[in-house]
């Protein structure tokens, strides 16, 4: 994480760290393995009180950041989520909250209020993504008079089965559109899925001729491309910071193991082949910190290269985070793949984070597109 934090940022991070240590220790997460949501509602509302869902929301709408750079503050929390393999829809609630901030509709304001208090969970249904061709979209939206009709299905949707509001992105004439849909709207069906994670829950959501009024639109019909891009950058920042936290936890416990574990009368930390692998891992870890921090900063500032840096973070950490965690497993040996050991919580975290909001390959394709556009323009 950052070399220099303000004291307010330090407090924010420290408070979350202690809260997670108290309320979501790994022993608790093991117990909640079959819990439908993965956590108690009080855990989430308590976190919301600490500011987990407000950092990207304008002050007018009841939000506010700690440092003036909401994405940077949020990355601090996400990092702690990663270090604790913490449950809870941090990514989706923040993505939806930031999308709703500044939206004046009644539904939007109501949803935002509930997300801010933690009373409701919201999910993003990314049924179309900027790295896809238009015909690859999973959700389509059409106009019917003043209404918008939504069709299609999308998975995985984080906390879909626990969610009150769905921010749905679909392909429509002219570009992408986004609507906010209460989960109980007619034609919406949600099915809980199984996942490789222990702490987080996912669902499949489908829309069958779901009709919503134009007032449910966020922005103009067919004009959401820029806003979607911004949301994915936000998600990339949170996921990257989470994965860096998880990588660091896995790395630290593996370094400790290497000092404690003796074989042939020597600590395994003394074997050069392992020392060199630790050096490589350390370089990946520091590089991940660096690009994660840079992405948070660039997205907070909305710089021209924010998209490139966010995709670089998402793709680099997506790939290298998993390789680091797997190398930690390898160095642990057989014990590293037991359920009793803590390592797998971090392995699962980075593995799933790799896939959410675009895989490394997808972000690389997107990044190439940006690069090509820039060079052609030059």
């Amino acid at each position: 994480m950052w070399h220099e934090l303000t004291s307010d940022q330090d407090l924010l991070r420290d408070t979350t760290s202690r809260y997670l240590g108290d309320r979501a220790p790994l022993s608790q997460l093991r117990k909640d393995r079959d819990h439908p949501a993965g956590f108690d509602p009080a855990y989430w509302t308590g976190g919301a009180e600490l500011g987990w869902t407000m950092l990207l929301v304008s002050e007018d709408d009841g939000g506010g950041s700690v440092s003036g750079k909401g994405a940077v503050d949020l990355a601090l929390i996400a990092y702690e989520f990663g270090r604790h393999a913490a449950p809870g829809p941090l990514v989706d609630c923040n993505v939806v909250a930031s999308a709703l901030s500044g939206q004046e509709g009644e539904l939007q304001q109501d949803a935002l209020g509930q997300i801010l208090t933690g009373e409701a969970i919201a999910s993003s249904c990314l049924g179309a993504a900027p790295w896809q061709l238009p015909d690859e979209a999973g959700v389509t939206m059409t106009k019917d008079g003043d209404d918008v009709i939504v069709n299609g299905s999308i998975k995985p949707v984080e906390s879909g089965a626990q969610s009150g509001f769905l921010l749905v992105t679909g392909m429509s004439e002219g570009g992408m559109s986004q609507v906010l849909v209460p989960v109980d709207a007619a034609g919406v069906s949600v099915k809980a899925l199984k996942s490789m994670d222990v702490t987080r829950r996912f669902a499949a959501v489908s829309f069958e001729n779901v009709r919503v009024p134009a007032s449910a639109l966020l922005g103009a019909f067919g004009q959401a491309d820029e806003e979607v891009t911004r949301q994915i950058q936000t998600a990339a920042v949170i996921l990257a910071a989470e994965s860096v936290g998880a990588m660091e936890a896995a790395f630290d416990m593996t370094v400790d193991w290497a000092f404690d574990r003796y074989t042939f009368g020597r600590a395994i930390a003394s074997y050069q082949a392992l020392k060199h692998r630790f050096a490589d891992m350390k370089s990946w870890l520091e590089a991940s910190h660096a690009i994660s921090d840079a992405a948070a900063e660039a997205v907070a500032d909305g710089t021209a290269t924010a998209g490139e840096i966010a995709s670089a973070a998402k793709s680099y950490i997506g790939e290298q985070g998993v390789e680091l965690a797997q190398d930690c497993v390898q160095i642990h040996g057989g014990i590293g793949v037991t359920y009793e050991h803590d390592l797998h919580f971090y392995l699962r975290r980075v593995t799933l984070n790799r896939l959410l909001y675009g895989t490394p390959a997808e972000h690389r394709r997107w990044l190439a597109g940006m690069q090509i556009e820039k060079e052609y323009a030059a």
Partner: protein, 418 residues
């Protein structure tokens, strides 16, 4: 039965007839010993015990075991002929490894006549399933670094300590165990081998859950477990002599002449999910980068197969060095990791999140990926194999070790002692 040995061909013909008359077709659980629930697994064990008994009663159990212990006293060629005829048929797969090899094999070579008489016929009749109690927590690749102790009490012994990674000990009957009996001698001296029944007071068996939910491996805790001196195998403090031979039989595994299992016939069915199928399900079959991954997966599979053939041919021709198998082990580990990763990459989010009601749920891909390093850990890590390749195949200097030529009690075993 005359004293003259039956020819392999005659034996083969007789075996074929008996097998066709008595054994049903091979079942999936004969290859993969994975069972969805413990109940199903115990049923499978009972079925295997009965099958082993059927072989015994039919006169085909223990083909290479001596007649005096209930075997047939025939040659490895006879065993191979039987195994070839067995192709495609059900068989008692839970007896093959580790019961016949290494356990019964070690017993046959080093056991007392009384021990052999007591256990070998019981094994051949399906009454005893054995496990090997070798690895220890904190032991890993350093097999000879064991600290489970056996101490003399009168003329008998008491065992304390723990063993781990014992497959399926929770329903097995007997174990062969390597213990430390003398702490004043250097590491490779001062060990002794015993046998003991697994289910007795003083032995607690815990199952180890893996991160993918499977829990075939166990850990055993020994608290003042009494072992009569008559259950000692080999000389006191000379256990490593047995140990090296034990590990030889372990490496032989399914290829041991003491093991009954089908070979040849139609190629063994692969339980790996097809990457073409994975890519199709993910809608990526026409994506050129997905195709490159499919091709790489396929190429690595072919290379793995050909390398194995090459190493085996080298060994068979006598030109190869036995350490060459470590080359294969390193390669297989790396290739398997890459192949799991490709499958995961091709599956997209389906590998991590799935609908369990769907026909071809994709959970196995994700779990294989999370477990991918097992290919580089199980049966000796790739790190140890790399040492073997560098030191014994390429002749490079050995690693310094901190445990040679000093009393075992003085070997550094952790920062608290160091």
């Amino acid at each position: 039965m005359s004293d003259e040995m039956e020819s392999v061909d005659d034996f083969r013909a007789r075996a074929r007839e008996w097998i066709n008359a008595n054994l049903g077709p091979m079942q999936p659980w004969d290859i993969s010993q994975h069972c969805d629930t413990d109940e199903i697994e115990l049923e499978a064990v009972a079925r295997d015990r009965a099958l082993q008994r059927k072989l015994f009663d039919g006169g085909f159990a223990g083909i290479c075991f001596p007649r005096e212990y209930g075997g047939l006293g025939l040659t490895p060629d006879h065993n191979r002929a039987f195994n070839e005829e067995l192709a495609g048929h059900e068989y008692p797969s839970r007896f093959s490894v580790p019961t016949f090899s290494p356990c019964a094999s070690v017993l046959l070579e080093y056991g007392t006549p009384e021990q052999k008489a007591a256990h070998l016929p019981a094994i051949l009749k399906g009454d005893e399933v054995w496990v090997q109690l070798l690895s220890e927590p904190g032991g890993g690749s350093d097999v000879a670094g064991i600290t489970t102790r056996a101490e003399k009490q009168g003329k008998d012994w008491v065992v304390n300590g723990s063993k781990v990674w014992t497959s399926r000990a929770w329903w097995a009957d007997w174990g062969i165990i390597l213990t430390r009996t003398n702490w004043d001698l250097p590491k490779h001296q001062g060990m002794t081998v015993f046998i003991l029944p697994l289910h007795q007071p003083g032995i607690e068996i815990q199952r180890i859950e893996r991160l993918n939910g499977e829990s075939e491996a166990c850990q055993e805790f020994f608290s003042d477990v009494p072992v009569p001196d008559s259950d000692r195998v080999g000389e006191i403090d000379a256990g490593w002599t047995i140990g090296t031979r034990w590990m030889y039989h372990e490496r032989l595994g399914h290829n041991s002449p003491y093991v009954t299992r089908p070979i040849g016939g139609k190629r063994e069915q692969s339980y790996e999910p097809s990457v073409v199928g994975i890519a199709r399900k993910a809608g990526r079959l026409d994506d050129p980068s997905a195709r490159e991954l499919i091709g790489e997966h396929s190429a690595l599979g072919l290379v793995t197969h050909e390398l194995q053939r090459r190493i085996a041919a080298g060994a068979a021709s006598g030109k190869g060095n036995k350490d060459l198998s470590s080359i294969d082990r390193v390669f297989r580990g790396i290739a398997s990791v890459r192949r799991s990763t490709i499958a995961f990459e091709l599956a997209g989010s389906g590998a991590s999140v799935w609908d369990e009601d769907e026909e071809d749920a994709t959970d196995a891909i994700g779990m294989n990926f999370l477990m991918r390093q097992v290919a580089c850990i199980g049966g000796g890590t790739t790190e140890i194999s790399r040492n073997v390749v560098a030191e014994r195949v390429l002749g490079m200097p050995r690693e310094q070790s901190g445990d040679r030529n000093i009393p075992f009690r003085d070997v550094p075993r952790g920062p608290k002692r160091g």
